[in-house]
């Protein structure tokens, strides 16, 4: 009993932090969302999502987040698998190399991509030097997706790598002992046993990709208007905090819905994980 009290006491700093920095702001946003500017109750800020401009942005956000997640998964899984199967002693160093880009400022990295992709940028200089036609990729959907994949890839690699590391080597040996080929072992044993990591990775990439606005600002140049950009503009340019909050709440519902769908997939085997 005393022990339990002591442990809950240790959780107090975090509890205070969450209360001040997460729960209170959440109520404020909810308050703004169901208010008109002059303080009377309304649902119009929430219903505003049905506005064709907003719907289009939300649709685009979901589309880009999905494509980003899928590309990250396709790139990350083989990398994680190769990393896991490396027969070297300082595996930790190689994993460290993969998360090294995360040490550099996020804005700086995206600005670098802006330079690389611009019409007179490094990419086109190389292409024209090789006698190939130049491409105009900056300020397109493709550039935004590229930026997001670049940015979020480590968040997909790490959880998958971790879940692969948890698989007992003897289990893989047992499969081949029972006559299983490499490919069969991968699909029947390795892949199902790394499902937890895949789901964590999907959530960790999909959720920030859905609400991101910086990448689309810098690499989309205002031409790729994601729901995150709409919300940002409502707060900064239009100064309509009520509409911005309303759209934020709707976006949050989409995030929660996608996470609970992923957890449902996961629940079929073992207990839920992230929420």
């Amino acid at each position: 009993m005393i022990n339990r009290l002591r442990t809950s006491f240790l959780a107090m700093p975090y509890a205070i932090w969450v209360l001040i920095c997460t729960i209170l702001p959440l109520f404020y946003i909810l308050g703004y969302a169901i208010n008109t500017g002059d303080g009377s109750f309304t649902l119009s800020n929430l219903i505003a999502i049905t506005d064709p401009v907003h719907l289009k942005s939300l649709g685009l956000s979901i589309q880009i987040a999905l494509i980003t997640t899928i590309i990250c998964l396709i790139l990350a899984y083989p990398v994680a698998l190769i990393l896991h199967n490396l027969k070297i002693s300082n595996k930790g160093f190689i994993v460290f190399l993969f998360i090294l880009p995360m040490w550099m400022n996020f804005m700086l990295r995206i600005l670098a991509w802006q330079n690389i992709l611009s019409n007179n940028g490094i990419l086109n200089s190389i292409l024209s030097a090789l006698g190939l036609p130049t491409i105009h990729i900056l300020y397109t959907k493709a550039a935004v997706i590229l930026g997001m994949v670049y940015d979020f890839l480590p968040y997909m690699i790490l959880p998958i790598y971790n879940s692969l590391s948890k698989i007992n080597d003897e289990v893989i040996e047992a499969a081949s002992d029972l006559g299983s080929s490499w490919l069969n072992t991968f699909f029947k044993i390795t892949l199902p046993l790394s499902k937890d990591g895949i789901i964590s990775g999907i959530i960790m990439v999909f959720v920030p990709a859905l609400s991101s606005f910086v990448v689309s600002n810098l690499l989309g140049g205002g031409k790729v208007l994601l729901i995150g950009n709409v919300i940002e503009q409502e707060f900064t340019l239009a100064r309509n905090w009520n509409l911005g909050s309303g759209l934020s709440i709707i976006l949050m519902l989409f995030v929660l819905a996608s996470m609970s769908i992923m957890n449902k997939v996961d629940d079929s085997e073992n207990g839920g994980m992230l929420i």
């Binding site: 007992n168 003897e170 289990v171 040996e173 047992a174 499969a175 081949s176 002992d177 029972l178 006559g179 299983s180 080929s181 069969n184 029947k188 044993i189 199902p192 046993l193 085997e269």
Partner: protein, 355 residues
């Protein structure tokens, strides 16, 4: 050619030589135990046969075929792993069916096999249960069931009872022997537990430092150890340096004692091995030497005594109680005195120093 044959097999990990020119033959339908301390190469020997390791040099034959280069999934051999290695995301039935599905057996065949295997390991009706719901002993039985449904020619068991508690280990030993009888296939069993080896096997291969020390029946290994390592590793022993004066007469600790061993030559240095249960204690002056009891521990079936005779302290097992400080005589009948050659080659010397 024998059923299984290791032909000059060597294996090293990095700079460490684990097996050096190993030659080993296994008869079909035998229960062979590889016994030795950890790091002796017994598990590597097993894993080479399972196909999980490739030898650096040498060949391995099964039924006359060279299987050295054959990958694990193509060998007619199945393994029971030390930590069970069950597939945690599958039910028990799916675990057992794994190998059969790869062989594309019919559903009826697979269902029959699962039923038969579960009955054999005393877990009938467990088909739909999850792996998590099983105890360690039950998980190991499922691992056995999963291996044997494939009707392997050889079943490899890598310290399968190592993680179980003593009582369970003993009952599983009898079950394994029963399963072996029922299936009539070759078992190759790895353990560091000498009691397990003596109970179950019909042949024991004692290994140390990558070398085979002795191959024989459990009785041979226990009663006629070939060198000091085997004598020391299998059961407890008094190992004393002595000199073989002539056939059937050995001298150690300053006394000359008759024995039954011959052919060592005259005045040859030897090791004398006497099992603690073979020493008979009597009144002072009635044996080949006298001593004083320095310790007496009750061990259940017997008392474990330390008897000091000059510089040497004997280990003695008796069913009679003796006071500490009591003067006694020691006697051993000639048949129970085991004479062993002193190690001559460098390899053997290494083994002895590291025991």
């Amino acid at each position: 050619m024998e059923f299984i044959q290791y032909d000059h097999v060597s294996k090293s990990y990095g700079k460490q030589l684990v097996l050096d020119e190993l030659n080993l033959y296994v008869k079909e339908n035998s229960f062979v135990t590889l016994l030795g301390p950890s790091g002796c190469g017994k598990t590597t020997t097993l894993r080479l046969l399972g196909g999980f390791e490739k030898p650096d040099s040498g060949k391995i034959y099964l039924n006359g075929n060279d299987i050295t280069a054959l990958p694990a999934n193509l060998r007619p051999i199945n393994t029971v792993f030390q930590k069970y290695a069950l597939f945690p995301h599958m039910t028990i039935a799916e675990n057992i069916a794994f190998g059969l599905k790869i062989q594309k057996k019919s559903k009826e065949y697979i269902d029959d096999k699962i039923k038969y295997a579960l009955k054999l390991v005393n877990l009938d009706g467990f088909e739909k249960r999850s792996i998590d719901s099983l105890s360690g002993g039950q998980q190991q039985r499922i691992a056995i069931a999963r291996a044997i449904v494939n009707e392997p020619k050889v079943l490899l068991l890598d310290e399968p009872l190592g993680a179980l508690d003593l009582k369970l280990r003993q009952s599983m030993q009898y079950e394994l022997m029963k399963i072996k009888q029922e299936l009539g296939i070759t078992f190759i069993y790895v353990t560091h537990d000498q009691e397990e080896a003596l109970t179950m096997s019909d042949t024991i291969v004692v290994m140390n430092q990558g070398y085979i020390q002795q191959i024989g029946t459990p009785e041979d290994i226990y009663n006629e150890p070939e060198n000091a390592f085997v004598a020391d590793f299998i059961g407890e022993s008094n190992i004393i340096e002595g000199i073989m004066i002539k056939d059937e007469l050995v001298s150690f600790l300053g006394v000359q004692v008759p024995c039954v061993d011959k052919g060592f030559g005259t005045m040859k240095p030897v090791d004398v091995v006497i099992r603690p249960e073979d020493v008979e204690l009597g009144e002072p002056g009635k044996g080949f030497m006298d001593g004083v009891i320095t310790d007496c521990l009750f061990k259940g079936v017997h008392y474990e005594l330390d008897v000091q005779c000059g510089q040497y302290e004997w280990l003695v097992h008796t069913t009679k109680y003796f006071e500490v400080g009591q003067h006694v005589s020691l006697n051993v009948i000639p048949f129970n005195i085991q004479i062993m050659n002193k190690p001559e080659s460098e390899d053997e010397e290494v083994m002895k120093e590291n025991d």
